[in-house]
Amino acid sequence: MIRMVSVSKEYPMGSEIYPILEDLTFHVPKGMLTAIIGPSGSGKTTLLNLIGGLDTPTHGQYFLNEQDVSHFSREQWAHERNRTIGFVFQSFQLITALSARDNVALPLVYRGIPPKVRRLQADDALEQVGLGHRRLHRPSQLSGGQQQRVAIARALIGDPALILADEPTGNLDQATGQEILELLQTLNRAGKTVVIVTHSAEVAQACRQIIQIQDGHVVTVAQEMERVR
């Protein structure tokens, strides 16, 4: 699903160039549940942004679904994200002025799907995360856990093959975090590739592949079988 070959990311700051990620090579197979772990500032979120096309690599090659997307334009990435990728953020990133239903339906707006169909699909996605009864509520009227469920419903509404989650349990208490993790596991079992950036050892343990990053380098890539050993 995701294949990175010698990928680097540098940011210019004044006349200096700061490397954030250096020579990253790894592979996330289709249908995998992957955790990206590492200390703060190690470049985890930058890596997730590269995977999601919110940012582009400075060097190296990135293959998404066997397609070389290293040099995709902003517009190409917008289309790719809309069809292939669902995002879940630590701070939920819901639009406060919209109802849960309208938030969930948002990716379909950019596919040109008519409002009636969008509404039906959004209600369906909200049912899947157990929030069918709160569809008309605004984000401010929902708890943190509920907001993250709305965000997950939004990530899965377009039926993307890949779900990228950046610290999805970071702002939630343990019990709620556990629920969200289970929800992501369920989606993974249904065939979606899920990549989670996390600090939580618990979340990482629940994943079948762990990519550990330190100082911009991949330190280890461990599959479930190896970890059992």
Partner: protein
Amino acid sequence: MTWRDGVLLAFKGMAGNKLRAILTMLGVIIGVAAVIVLVAIGQGASSLVTSRIETLGTNVIFVSPAGGTPFPASEAAMITRALPFPTLVVPEMNTGAKVSTLTASGGAQIVGTTSAYIHLGAISIAAGHFLTPLEIAQDQHVAVLGANQVQTLFGGSNPVGAAVMIMGQQFRVIGALNVVGQGPGASQDNDIFIPMTVAQSLLSTTQLSQVTVKTSSPDQANLAADYLTNFYTNAFGSATAVTVASEDQVLQTLQATRATFTNLLAGTAAIALIVGGIGIMNIMLVSVTERTREIGIRQALGATREDILLQFLLESMAMSLSGGTIGAIVGVGLVHLVPVLLKTPAVFSPNALILAFVFSTAVGLFFGLYPAIKASGLDPIQALRYDG
């Protein structure tokens, strides 16, 4: 994103912050209403000129001396003789003067003329009678008052038989005129008509201000104008010593002045619209900043640059078009109120309505463009991190 979604989103955005939307639209509302009302007032003035052409006819020419050209009272008889066809020739000498009664006083335009003036058709008698040949021949101190003078000096009551003081001499009021109304040039409503013979001794001069010539047809008026122009050019050796203008020419000049006036009013209103547009741009820029995170979210979910551009552009256009619609309703309403409140004619112009709409749309498009470009150019990562 489809256009339909964009429009829906734009109106939802406005509905989400009604007070701000209304305050932002205010500039456009005022601008569009101003365009419609001011153009209507300008058109009203023009239509008055046109209606005067219709009542007076275009068979009148004006002959007046320029600068120090001698133009004695005998000039009227001279013109009558000079023209090869019968005409009505009316001499006039005008001056501004203080007038008073026992109870009131004011300023007036004193017109010394002959009994023929009434036949020009510009004025009509409301009470009493106009100057008669006998009164003029006998140098009688009699006066005919324009409608405003009746109002100022006699509070609107019938002045016939009463006395009025003009330049220290007492005159007997023999007639009052109907309202003429504001038209091209000065209105006769402020005039006081006295025998020309009396005016000559009162002003100690025989110099005429103007001679009005009325012919039996517009063609004859043009002919007379050409004839007199030649006549005076030969007499004084200069084409500018005496001005000969047909009613038609005078009115055309006035029409042109009115058109300039209308354009000036429309221009002023257009400035109001532009200021309204700047208001929209200002609020849209604030909106883009406030909604930076929303823009980031939309980008992460698949919105292209074009989608974001369209969203913000449609929002500013929705605002300017809504403002335009409200402004048009207010403007058309005011056009109906202006004649009642300001006693000025106003003629609604559909062109002004179309112009105002086109202009307000253009304002929304133009002033919405910069904020929309700014929004669509945001970096998704920065936008998602924005903590506003």
